[in-house]
Every structure is written in structure tokens, then in C-alpha cells.
């Protein structure tokens, strides 16, 4: 089996395994913002899958996993374009 496909599958398995274990506590910056009670401005843009969930599926495991998988593929595609742009032209792609 293609090594690259194995790597992509491994990323999805990684997400499926770790999403339920992930901490929902605020991160370092969010904690600092909460501690000092900063009033946040209204954001300019709310994204399409804000908080890594698919809106219609609510805030569930499936919703987060699906958002993660979609994001993984989006980054894979963008990364492929960037990689191609940076790689030398006349060599075969090494897997």
C-alpha cells in the first residue's frame, strides 16, 4: 500500500483516538484573557466550522471528528500545492 495513504490514514486514526481525550480547558492565552477579564471585540469572521464543529451536527464527537477530517484534507491539498511549487521541476515524486 502507498506509504502516503498509510500516513493520511494514521492522521485520521490519531484524530479519532485523541479527540475524546483532548482537554476542553482554555489554552494558555484564553486562560490569561479570562483571568484579567478582558472585553473581547466582535470578531470579523466566524469561519465555516467554528470551534472545530460542523454546525448542523452540534458539538459532538462526530461533529468534531468530521471537522478535523475535512480540515486535514484541506491542509493536505494546500500542502500539495505548496510542495509542488517549491519542489524542483524535473524529478519524480519520491514516495
Amino acid at each position: 500500500m502507498n506509504k502516503n495513504l498509510v500516513a493520511v490514514a494514521a492522521i485520521i486514526v490519531f484524530l479519532a483516538f485523541f479527540i475524546p481525550l483532548a482537554s476542553s480547558s482554555p489554552d494558555g492565552l484564553e486562560r490569561v484573557v479570562e483571568t484579567f477579564e478582558v472585553t473581547k471585540q466582535t470578531p470579523l469572521w466566524n469561519g465555516m466550522m467554528s470551534d472545530y464543529t460542523i454546525a448542523v451536527l452540534g458539538d459532538s464527537y462526530v461533529s468534531t471528528l468530521l471537522a478535523g477530517v475535512v480540515g486535514t484534507f484541506i491542509v493536505l491539498m494546500a500542502g500539495t500545492l505548496l510542495g509542488r511549487a517549491l519542489s524542483p521541476k524535473k524529478t519524480k515524486i519520491i514516495n
Binding site: 479527540i19 483532548a22 470578531p43 466550522m49 484541506i74 505548496l82
Partner: protein, 224 residues
């Protein structure tokens, strides 16, 4: 440490100037890294770049608990820098941040220049920290993984320090509150970053030495 637009006080000139300034600085770094990265590789890096970027995206979704009801996640800048070199790492992290900001509203649009600098530029530049720490060629193999750990920790601390300065106009107490508190939490988050990065790199070194063999970082320095 993704800065949301909510922390850019659009009513304050200092805050908005800083945001625009960081956009300009980051674009300059990205243009430089693009130029450098284009002439670096003798073979295709497409698969490696796409997969490592996707992994960093996925890993950033998983927060690990630290202490005091606070969490952190892998940033992955040093991880990318080791595998891709400093220049491609900056660009790779930038696409991760761009997709996060655009699709997931994780990190702001106004704050994008700040986030690119704090995570992508600093992360990429951490490559040179590893180089500095492993300068003594005879011991560089032994020092490699500890250097990766140290560079990862420092990259998080430096990113957090910059983030603390950048968001300070939104805080009544300014830098006097943001700097110590950001560094306090990120000193711990950085340990996670260092441990995860060191573990990943040493595993790749063992399981896929071919990837590591082509690294500019270790070329002529160590035998794997």
C-alpha cells in the same frame, strides 16, 4: 496561542498599528523563505510537506491538560523545521494557520500577521537554534534530540512572549500582566511541545531513517 481578532482593539491606534505592522513583517519573512525554499531541494518534497502540514493541523486540535485548569497543544513549528528545513517550515505552518483562520475561525484575520510571526516564523527559525546547539560535530548525534527538545521549548516561549506583547493593548494592565502570565503557562505548555516533538523526531529517525537522511540539518554532521 492563536490570537483572535477579539483581542485586537480596533478602537486603539496602538493595537491596530501593531496588527498591520505584523502583517507586513510576516509577509516579508514569507517572501524571504519562499525565495530560499525554492532553491533548496534536490528532490520533491511534495508528499512530505503535505503530510507533515496535515499532521500539524490535526495535532493542534488536540489540547493536552497542563495545570490550573489550563491546556495547551502542540504548535509543531520545530517539528516542521526539522523535517522540512526552516524556510519550507515557515510556509507550511502558514498554510495551516491560514486554513485554521479561514475555515475554523481559529486565530483572527487582523491578527493573522501576528500568528504567522509567533508560530510560523519563530517555528521555522528554531531550526537555527538546533544548529547552534549541535555545532560541535563530534557530539551532535547525542545532542540532536535534546537540542530538538530545547528548541521546541524556546520556540513556544518566544512565541508566547511576542503574543503577550501583541495583545497587551487590550489589557488594562498592559505588558505587566500579559508577559508574566503568558510565560508562566507557556513554560509548561512548552515542555509538552518539547516532549512531543522530541518523541516524534526520534521515532521518525528510527522508523524512517530515509526521511532523516535527506535532512539539510544533519547533512555532513551525523551518521544515522
Amino acid at each position: 496561542m492563536h490570537i483572535p481578532d477579539g483581542l485586537i482593539a480596533t478602537s486603539q491606534p496602538a493595537s491596530i498599528t501593531l496588527a498591520i505592522g505584523m502583517w507586513i513583517v510576516s509577509i516579508a519573512f514569507l517572501a524571504w523563505s519562499w525565495k530560499k525554499a525554492k532553491n533548496t531541494y534536490s528532490r520533491s518534497i511534495t508528499a512530505l510537506l503535505a503530510i507533515t502540514s496535515a499532521f500539524v493541523f490535526a495535532a493542534q486540535m488536540i489540547n493536552f491538560p497542563i495545570a490550573f485548569g489550563t491546556s495547551g497543544h502542540l504548535v509543531g513549528g520545530t517539528f516542521l523545521a526539522v523535517l522540512l528545513g526552516p524556510y519550507a517550515a515557515m510556509l507550511s505552518m502558514t498554510i495551516v494557520l491560514l486554513m485554521q483562520a479561514f475555515f475554523f475561525a481559529d486565530g483572527g484575520i487582523l491578527a493573522f500577521g501576528m500568528n504567522v510571526f509567533n508560530m510560523a516564523v519563530i517555528g521555522g527559525l528554531s531550526f537555527f537554534l538546533i544548529k547552534l546547539f549541535t555545532k560541535d560535530q563530534t557530539s551532535s548525534y547525542k545532542r540532536f534530540i535534546p537540542s530538538v527538545f530545547a528548541a521546541s521549548w524556546l520556540s513556544v516561549m518566544l512565541g508566547a512572549l511576542l503574543a503577550a506583547l501583541e495583545v497587551s493593548p487590550a489589557f488594562a494592565g498592559g505588558v505587566m500582566v500579559t508577559v508574566p502570565s503568558m510565560l508562566f503557562y507557556h513554560a509548561m505548555i512548552g515542555l509538552g511541545e518539547g516532549a512531543i516533538t522530541a518523541l516524534l523526531i526520534s521515532s521518525i529517525q528510527r522508523m524512517q531513517p530515509a526521511i532523516m537522511g535527506g535532512l539539510t540539518l544533519l547533512k555532513g554532521r551525523t551518521k544515522l
